[in-house]
């Protein structure tokens, strides 16, 4: 199963998100993440969707999306021809100074930053391409993760 990033330009009508997600539900496509954001035109929104599947599934998803009345464009973004980024917050249990220092070192390595520190907790933030975030989470999971929140990817064609 591959992961693909789709950038979908839609008319900003009530119900358009439901329509897109209903299509994924009905046809059994897997969504990893979906973000909706404003564009310079208030009548138009941009959806960035990460889907899982093989090439046939990707082709079907793109064609089925394109059939929706309110979908204006569907683009499959390749990593090397687009900029994409995702934000993650991780809340970690930090019982002592040595753990904190280890975490800070890791953060430096991955370009993450500490945004909040409590007595025995720490919140770190990383904005990166999804694969780097996956790698970071893999490493950081050696520590005790209390909570995590990922934004889903947002992307733009180069």
């Amino acid at each position: 199963m591959e992961k693909y990033i789709l950038s979908v330009t839609v008319q900003n009508n009530a119900g358009v998100l439901a329509r897109v997600s209903s299509l994924f539900g009905r046809r059994g496509y897997n969504i990893d993440s979906l973000t909706v954001s404003a564009t310079t035109d208030p009548k138009v929104s941009c959806m960035s969707i990460i889907v899982q599947g093989d090439h046939m599934v990707l082709e079907q998803i793109m064609k089925q999306l394109a059939k929706l009345e309110e979908v204006m464009h569907v683009v499959h973004l390749e990593e090397d021809s687009s900029c994409c980024s995702e934000l993650v917050f991780v809340k970690l249990h930090t019982p002592d100074v040595s753990v904190r220092n280890d975490i800070r070192q890791l953060c430096d390595l991955y370009g993450a930053r500490v945004v909040d520190t409590q007595e025995s907790e720490m919140i770190i933030e990383l904005s990166e391409v999804p694969s780097r975030i996956d790698a970071f989470l893999d490493v950081i999971s050696n520590f005790k993760i209390l909570e995590m929140s990922r934004s889903g990817v947002t992307a733009i064609e180069k």
Binding site: G15, A18, G25, M56, E59, Q60, K63, L68, E70
Partner: protein, 554 residues
């Protein structure tokens, strides 16, 4: 001119050429029904017994005429009762506009009386749907709905109108009927490639579906078949495009298609699919469908390409445009060896049911209908064994004369569809062929046929069991007849009488013929209870997931 929303709706419908709608009144559509009352000279409203009947009638009207069918229902249960009818139209790509009322804007989202989010409910079964939030948008929304329903691959569109919008006023500016001028570009290279693939083939085969019916391209297809000497088989959605009696036609393809068609697909070296979608009722095993063939797929809907099976070459176009453009590229050819092989399959393998005048065998019933009714008779069916027999022995020679729920398989579709067709063509004969199971689902619509004096002839193939499911139980479930023998005691002659229609009970072909002749006097709706044996099976059959190797013929 300033009008209220209900009047604007009527004007916008008339503007789109609507003269007939099927519906049922209720609280949220009182303003619309008031406007219909005042405009009864412009739009004829047919009141059904149930909203589902209205949806199927609008669908049948659309299938028989090719125009957009329109149905109307109130909010809540009125709207949800349309759902099966909308889904039926969606699966068979039938152009339909369904209009629902809703509670007033200020009551929406408060679980108000008869409130339902029908736009959400119908999202996956419509091409698109609208909630009208401002009376200023109403007329253009209606225009958009008709454009979407009829363009590209047709389908149903729903417009939900809150009650206050039907009372609010604004200016109605006429804009005229939405004209759909779609063109499908096919390059010379593409046409040449298709022609080359056909020319290179020694054993070519065409399989076509509803797309050929929608664009009425049967004559052109037959012309191509004759030019290049290519046999064809059709899906259940394309009955009548080319009569089954044509030498180049192998009849229906699929689970209950002809054996010769199944073998032709199995052995062909090129399969050209036009306006069909390799559904699981045709490509019963997608991994082994046309195993030795290159496949060309022509369809109006790009999303159908490579959806169910991967194809070697694809053209996105309507059937008519494709056939018209490809014709000059096609070389005349003869495939004598291939045709001889097919002829042998036809004589040796095709299933031939045995006649017996003392009882009613389904194929004889269908033959009698074809003999006793005019050539332009429209047949509407429900779903089950009777539908499959009707498709196998359809006797149709033209398009839009066989109305059936192919995709969704909706039991209870037939009577509403027959009413819609009869309203569209009052002077033609409409025969509704049903089973006792399907008929029980929506027989309430007899009252509609009586009210409007619609002389629909209903023939109930009465085997007193739910025959199609029972057939599967016989073949695959050790004859464990779970819930398929309902022991109903319905007297259809009395039933007809109670509704104000006429009923006949027949148990052999001669009696059926007499009843049909009586029905053809067309004084009103008729029910014919035709007694058939409960062990009659639909044959041949390729079981689900099977191939030609699994064919059952006895």
């Amino acid at each position: 001119m300033v009008k209220n929303g209900a009047e604007i709706l009527i004007d916008a419908l008339v503007e789109q050429g609507v003269d007939t709608i099927f519906g049922y009144p209720g609280g949220a559509v009182l303003n619309i029904y008031d406007a219909l009352y005042k405009n009864s000279d412009r739009i004829r409203h047919i009141l059904t017994a149930h909203e589902q009947g209205a949806a199927h009638a609008a669908d049948g009207y659309a299938r028989a005429t090719g125009k957009v069918g329109v149905c109307l229902a109130t909010s809540g249960p009125g709207a949800t009762n349309l759902v099966t009818g909308i889904a039926t139209a969606y699966m068979d790509s039938i152009p339909m506009v369904a209009i629902t009322g809703n509670v007033g804007t200020s009551l929406i989202g408060r679980d108000s009386f008869q409130e339902v989010y029908i736009a959400g409910i119908t999202m996956p079964i419509t091409k698109h749907n609208f909630v009208v939030r401002d009376v200023d948008e109403l007329a253009d929304t209606v225009r958009d709905a008709f454009r979407i329903a009829a363009s590209g691959r047709p389908g149903p569109v729903l417009i939900d109108i809150p009650k206050d919008i039907t009372a609010a006023k604004c200016e109605f500016i006429p804009k005229g009927k939405v004209e759909i001028n779609e063109t499908y570009e096919i390059s010379d290279e593409e046409l040449q490639t298709v022609a080359d693939m056909i020319a290179a083939s020694e054993r070519p085969m065409i399989y076509y579906g509803g797309g050929v019916e929608t664009s009425d391209a049967g004559d052109m297809l037959l012309q191509l078949q004759r030019k290049a000497d290519i046999p064809s088989a059709h899906t259940m959605m394309a009955i009548g495009c080319i009569p089954d009696t044509e030498p180049l036609s192998l009849g229906m393809i699929g689970m209950h298609g002809t054996v010769s068609a199944a073998w032709a697909v199995e052995r062909c070296d090129l399969l050209v699919c036009i306006g069909a979608r390799f559904s699981d009722r045709v490509a019963t095993n997608t991994k082994r469908f046309a195993p030795s063939a290159k496949v060309i797929h022509v369809d109006i809907d790009n999303a159908e390409i490579n959806k169910n099976i991967g194809v070697d070459y694809a053209i996105v176009s309507d059937a008519e445009t494709f056939l018209e453009k490809v014709m000059p590229y096609i070389k005349e050819a003869k495939h004598d060896a291939w045709r001889a092989q097919i002829a042998e399959w036809q004589t040796k393998l095709d299933y031939v049911p045995k006649d017996d005048e003392s009882v009613i065998h389904p194929h004889q019933l269908l033959r009698t209908v074809a003999e006793e009714t005019p050539e332009d008779t429209i047949i509407a069916t429900d779903v089950g064994q009777h539908q499959l027999w009707s498709a196998q022995y359809n006797g149709r020679k033209h398009v839009r004369q066989f109305l059936t729920s192919g995709g969704l398989g909706t039991m209870g579709f037939g009577y509403g569809a027959a009413l819609g067709a009869q309203v569209a063509f009052p002077d033609r004969t409409v025969v509704h062929i049903t089973g006792d199971g399907s008929f029980h689902m929506n027989l309430n619509e007899i009252c509609t046929a009586v009210s409007y004096n619609l002389p629909v002839i209903t023939i109930i193939m009465n085997n007193r069991v739910l025959g199609n499911v029972r057939q599967w139980q016989t073949m695959f479930y050790g004859s464990r007849y779970s819930q398929t023998d309902p022991h109903r005691k319905t007297d259809y002659v009395k039933l007809a009488d109670a509704f104000g229609a006429r009923g006949f009970r027949v148990s052999n072909i001669a009696e059926l013929r007499d009843a049909l002749r009586e029905a053809m006097k067309r004084t009103g709706p008729v029910l014919i209870d035709a007694q058939i044996d409960k062990d009659e099976r639909v044959l041949p059959m390729i079981p689900a997931g099977g191939t030609v190797d699994d064919l059952v013929t006895e």
